[in-house]
């Protein structure tokens, strides 16, 4: 089913952009379209997402919507890791709505780009992103952490489409990402691999085993994004086991490195677009972020690693996020 051949790409682009602008909620939009049975348009829209570029404003709106839905989900479930979710959502949005070559209708398409949420404790942010991107229904978010729900506290590949590997124990993502990138290299395929890890997570030695191997294998199809929010579970990273400057360490291990504002989608988009900063080298993007980003009283506060807002806090947070939209 080659949809492109029967459609003017420019028209499709404009059309989709307009639709997104109108609804601002991809999944609602998708649902609305389903209800009127316009399957072709849905397909087309999904394909177009792989081909066309959403503008920064649209991506920002999407990120705000994902923050809001993440917040709602955590509040409803009375559990989650909201601090690290808020710090990662701009990165996730950019990846899923701009960078990744993926198709929600074919989550296991062999040539897809791969994304690994190595900081698996922020699963709720991933689920919310996957829902907005059409991998699962938005409605399903309400089952988060409920008995027998697919939406466990950490992502499960065998249950949730779009999840590539089961994470939750820190320091597992990068080695797996190396295997995925190596598989592309061996197969002569062009897919890219993105791993998102926490900064505290880099204290795990498994990452450094992987860092060495990635450089040795010249995996320039591999990008590690470090969510550098300078907080871990119990304290500042700096006070626990200092890691900064992170880029220097990866440079010493043979990686190309860049630093970006991890909440500036334009910067993220540009950084992710490059296959590698230097040919033959894996890339480490240090994304400078804030835990709790977008919600004033959570921002940069260690206790919001996995605290759950009470009613007043929840209402204030919703208000702040909505005001920004």
């Amino acid at each position: 089913m080659n949809i492109y051949s029967c459609f003017d790409l420019n028209t499709a682009d404009n059309f989709c952009q307009r639709l997104i602008k109108l609804s601002r909620k991809y999944a609602d939009f998708r649902k609305a379209l389903t209800d009127t049975r316009l399957h072709e348009i849905i397909c087309l829209y999904i394909y177009s997402l792989e081909t066309f570029t959403l503008d920064v404003q649209t991506l920002q709106d999407m990120a705000r919507q994902i923050r809001l839905d993440d917040l709602k989900t955590v509040y409803r479930a009375k559990a989650g890791h909201i601090g690290g979710e808020m710090s990662a959502i701009d990165i996730l949005t950019t990846l899923y709505f701009h960078t990744l070559n993926i198709d929600p209708t074919q989550p296991n398409k062999p040539t897809r780009d791969r994304f690994i949420l190595s900081k698996g404790h922020t699963a709720c942010a991933l689920y919310t992103t996957l829902a907005h991107r059409g991998f699962i229904e938005l409605d399903e978010l309400s089952t988060f952490l409920q008995p027998h729900s697919r939406l466990n506290g950490h992502p499960n590949r065998n249950k949730v489409p779009g999840v590539e590997t089961n994470t939750g124990a820190l320091g597992h993502g990068l080695p797996i990402g190396i295997g995925m990138a190596k598989a592309a290299q061996l197969s002569g395929e062009g897919w890219r691999v993105f791993v998102l890890c926490g900064d505290g997570e880099l204290q795990e030695g498994s990452n450094w085993e992987a860092a060495m191997a990635a450089a040795h294998f010249k995996l320039d199809n591999l990008t590690l994004i470090v969510d550098h929010n300078r907080l871990q579970q119990g304290a500042r990273v700096h006070d626990t086991n200092a890691l900064a400057p992170i880029a220097d360490k990866f440079a010493a291990f043979g990686w190309a490195t860049t630093a970006v504002d991890g909440h500036d989608i334009a910067q993220l988009r540009e950084a992710f677009d490059k296959r590698s900063a230097t040919a033959g080298q894996p890339t480490c993007i240090v994304a400078n972020t804030f835990k709790g980003q977008g919600i004033s009283f959570m921002q940069d506060k260690v206790e919001w690693h996995h605290k759950v807002p009470n009613k007043e806090q929840y209402e204030q947070a919703v208000e702040e996020l909505q005001a920004a939209m």
Binding site: A79, G120, H121, L145, Q146, P147, H148, S149, R150, L151, N152, G153, H154, N156, N166, T167, G168, A169, L170, G171, G200, E201, Q203, E204, G205, Q232, Q233, G234, A235, T240, N241
Partner: protein, 322 residues
């Protein structure tokens, strides 16, 4: 022995209060952790002795190695981390640096079993009995209530050699009174009975006791044994239970493979073969749910245990159990 089933206790509280008491008397006691000050409830310890809390960050292999080195330097390290990461991520360090070196390290597996419930199988520690039990020289203790936790921590501090304390955060009622004396390697019969025996430890002991009360109403008198020490296992108590009651049900917040039931089965087949039923997580990665929800699901509610026991009771003496 259990009088109040409704007041539940988080045994981490007994763990840290005992540890702090011991540490105030013996300044060789130190705590080691992996960014787990909160989940191990070590905040009080840190406030009292900031320099004696060695937080290595999220690095479990290093954590256990550091523990072994501290022991070599004369310290008594309590290495505290979520049991899943402590045992799974640092198992070779536990084998070589702690067990084989016979280092005086106290491994404290916090939130063992399915205490992390909805966080899922990466955070469940239902393999730790199997993983540690096969290593020589580690005393493994899974206390069932606050009083036994206190005793186990005191034992660990005074014992010269490796100890693995398997702790939970799931609420349990008081089982023992506060002057209960914990003896490592010695199981406690917490309810007499001759019709069959239920053996449990950790969070399952009170459920086993409740099951026995249900069975009593059906005319079956179940002996209930709390087998806190998994290794070295109390062979005599198992043999008496098997020969005197003729059937054993085991319950554990662990896989049915390789844990408490398995350890008891090894003794039973070699010393006094009788029918057994091993209750636990039945060889699957658990679905989403809280620990208590999942224990019920897996047939370990008081009713579930009593039903398994009831069935086993009618299989006593049979050669082939359906």
């Amino acid at each position: 022995m259990i009088t109040d089933f409704d007041t539940l206790h988080d045994c981490r509280d007994a763990f840290v209060s005992t540890l702090e008491n011991l540490a105030s008397e013996n300044n060789q006691i130190v705590a080691v952790c992996n960014d787990s000050v909160g989940s191990s409830k070590l905040g009080g310890f840190r406030d009292k002795w900031p320099e004696r809390l060695v937080n290595v960050g999220i690095a479990e292999q290093n954590m256990v190695g550091v523990g072994a080195g501290l022991a070599n330097g004369g310290k008594i390290p309590f290495v505290c981390a979520a049991s899943c990461f402590l045992t799974g991520r640092a198992l070779e360090q536990i084998k070589a640096d702690v067990a084989y070196t016979h280092a005086n390290v106290k491994l404290c597996g916090i939130s063992s079993g399915m205490a992390y419930g909805e966080l899922g199988p990466t955070h469940h520690s239902i393999e730790d009995f199997a993983w540690t039990r096969v290593l020589p020289g580690i005393t493994i203790v899974a206390p069932a209530d606050p009083s036994e936790t206190k005793g186990a921590v005191e034992f660990a501090a005074n014992h010269d050699g490796p100890v693995f304390l398997r702790l939970s955060r799931v609420g349990v009622p008081n089982i023992f009174d506060s002057n209960h004396r914990f003896v490592a390697g010695k199981a406690n019969t917490i309810r007499p009975g001759q019709d069959l025996t239920i053996i449990a430890n950790g969070t399952l002991t009170h459920r086993a006791f409740q099951a026995a009360e249900l069975l009593a109403k059906q005319g079956i008198e179940a002996r209930v044994i709390n087998m806190a020490t998994l290794s070295p296992i109390d062979i005599d108590t198992i043999v008496s239970a098997a020969t005197e009651t003729g059937a054993i049900v085991t319950c554990e917040e662990h896989s049915v493979h390789g844990g408490l039931g398995s350890a008891i089965a090894e003794v039973v087949v070699q010393q006094c073969p009788v029918p057994m039923k091993i209750l636990g997580v039945p060889g699957v990665f658990a679905p989403t749910g809280s620990a208590n929800y999942l224990l019920d699901e897996f047939g370990m509610s008081a009713t579930g245990i009593s039903e398994a026991a009831h069935q086993l009771f009618y299989n006593k003496g049979k050669k082939r159990i359906a």
